[in-house]
Each structure stands twice: as C-alpha cells, then as structure tokens.
Symmetry: C2
Subunit: 147 residues, 2 copies
C-alpha cells in the first residue's frame, strides 16, 4: 500500500494544572463550531504525537494497561501506539468561549498541546450502544457517562 493521506491539526489541547480543560480551535476553523453548544458530548479525534515514530507506528499488539488483560491487537485495544496514531475520546462539552475560539470540556486523556484532528457531535441514535460486549479486563473500569 503506498497510499498516503494528509491531515492538518484543527486545534490543540490546553490542559494546565488547576485550570479548565480547553480545546483551542485554530481561528480559520472556528466557523466549523457553529451550533456545537447544542450538544452535550463530543467525539474528539486527536493525534498521539508522542508515538509518531517508527516504533509507535509499527506496533500491532500490546497488553492493555488494566488488570488481567491479555495480549491484544491494537484494533482490540485503545493503545495510542498503532499504525495510524489516531485516538478517540468522548468528552462532555461544558462551555464555548467564542472570543478565544475555545471549547471547555470536562476531561480528555490527551496531554497538554496534543494536536486535535476532528470533532464530531455525539448522537445517541447511532453512537450509544446498550449491552456492548467487552472482554473481562474492560468490564470493571470506572463508568464515565453511564449509570
């Protein structure tokens, strides 16, 4: 496969000790946030830049960092080390700061200054799965947005 696709960051994470978590959008992309305040939750696709090296991008298997986990393919784990180092986080949108082109969110597992590639609204009709099956080692994680 010699196909290559090019992506540009549309923003970055601003996550400083003691401050809210911001997703800072590049000014030229701010119009793409129109009416985003009508949604409570978002999917954030970010670039795991710490793994943007031949080792990180050739990793096909790992052991997820939870108790009892077994060696798994990266398509069966959420490891940031993977062929295309895309990460996906679901976050709660807590505010929109139009003056500084920023979204305020509750949390994100990405580090400060992580490049953001895309933002999509969370739409329950197709994004929410009741009764999804996962292996034992992912069953007792802390629930973030469910009862």
């Amino acid at each position: 496969m010699t196909l290559k696709y090019e992506l540009n960051p549309i923003g970055r994470v601003d996550k400083k000790e003691g401050a809210p978590v911001f997703l800072v959008i590049e000014p030229q992309y701010w119009d793409a946030a129109l009416r985003i305040e009508l949604f409570s939750h978002l999917h954030i696709i970010w670039w795991a830049d710490g793994f943007d090296n031949p080792k990180g991008r050739s990793q096909l298997k790992d052991v997820p960092p939870v108790e009892g986990a077994e060696m798994s393919g990266v398509f069966a784990s959420r490891s940031p080390a993977r062929p295309n180092i895309l990460c996906l986080s679901i976050v709660k949108l807590e505010g929109v700061d139009s003056e500084s082109n920023r979204l305020i969110v509750d949390q994100i597992s990405a580090d400060d200054e992580t490049p953001i590639l895309d933002i999509k609204p969370y739409i329950p009709s197709s994004d929410r799965v009741d009764n999804a099956k996962v292996p034992e080692w992912f069953r007792n994680l802390v629930k973030r947005y469910t009862e």
Copy 2:
C-alpha cells in the same frame, strides 16, 4: 499551521449488493485484530475519499440532511465534508474471517472500497453516554443499538 500528518489505509470496506458487509484488513496489519472477537461493537474511522478535494476539505458549515436541521458547523454535524475528511461509524461485529483477513459487520455508512484508517473497540465505560443532549433535528433518528 503548516503541520501535516500522514496516514495510510489499514484496510477497506467491501460492501456488495446481497453479500455481508466486510472490512478487509491489509495482511500486514492483520495481527492488530488479535482478540477483536471479544468485542461486540467497534468504532471504525474511515477516509471520506469522495470529498478528498479542495472543496470538500474547505467546507466548514452545512445543513445536516435531516428534517428541520439548521445550518451548522461541521464539528456540529457528521458531514464527511470537513477539514480532515475523517468519518466515524459504530458497527456491530458479526464475525471474523481469519483466512481472508476480514471482519464481518452488520452495516457501515461508507461506500464499497472506502479506505479504513483505524479500528477501535467500543468500551461502554467511556464510550456510552446516557442522556446526551442533541438539537431537535437529531432527536428522532432511528435508534440503532439502543432501546
């Protein structure tokens, strides 16, 4: 911003009339699917190659194609036309065909031959949101995986 990130397809959609929907994984990435059968649902990140042109990639706003929708930023819609033409679909994993490096899934909104960039397991503890808020025009869509 002059940063650019390169991605390579890890597979493609095989969706032919009257046949199951397959996600065909490139042989060199098949090890990344180890233990994927332990999950019932997956996130698929795919490349909206039909919009890989200056017009598609400069679109910042559109009207979502549902009744009553208002003009929205693409970060507030699921339009494939957007700065980085990434799309995200949640699918049900129905089978794994190791001999042909294929996953069998229930559906995907991508066309036949669409490039796939990443696959991640759906983990309810962080991916399922109960009571997410959306604008009126996304409230009456057909529910796929919820009651």
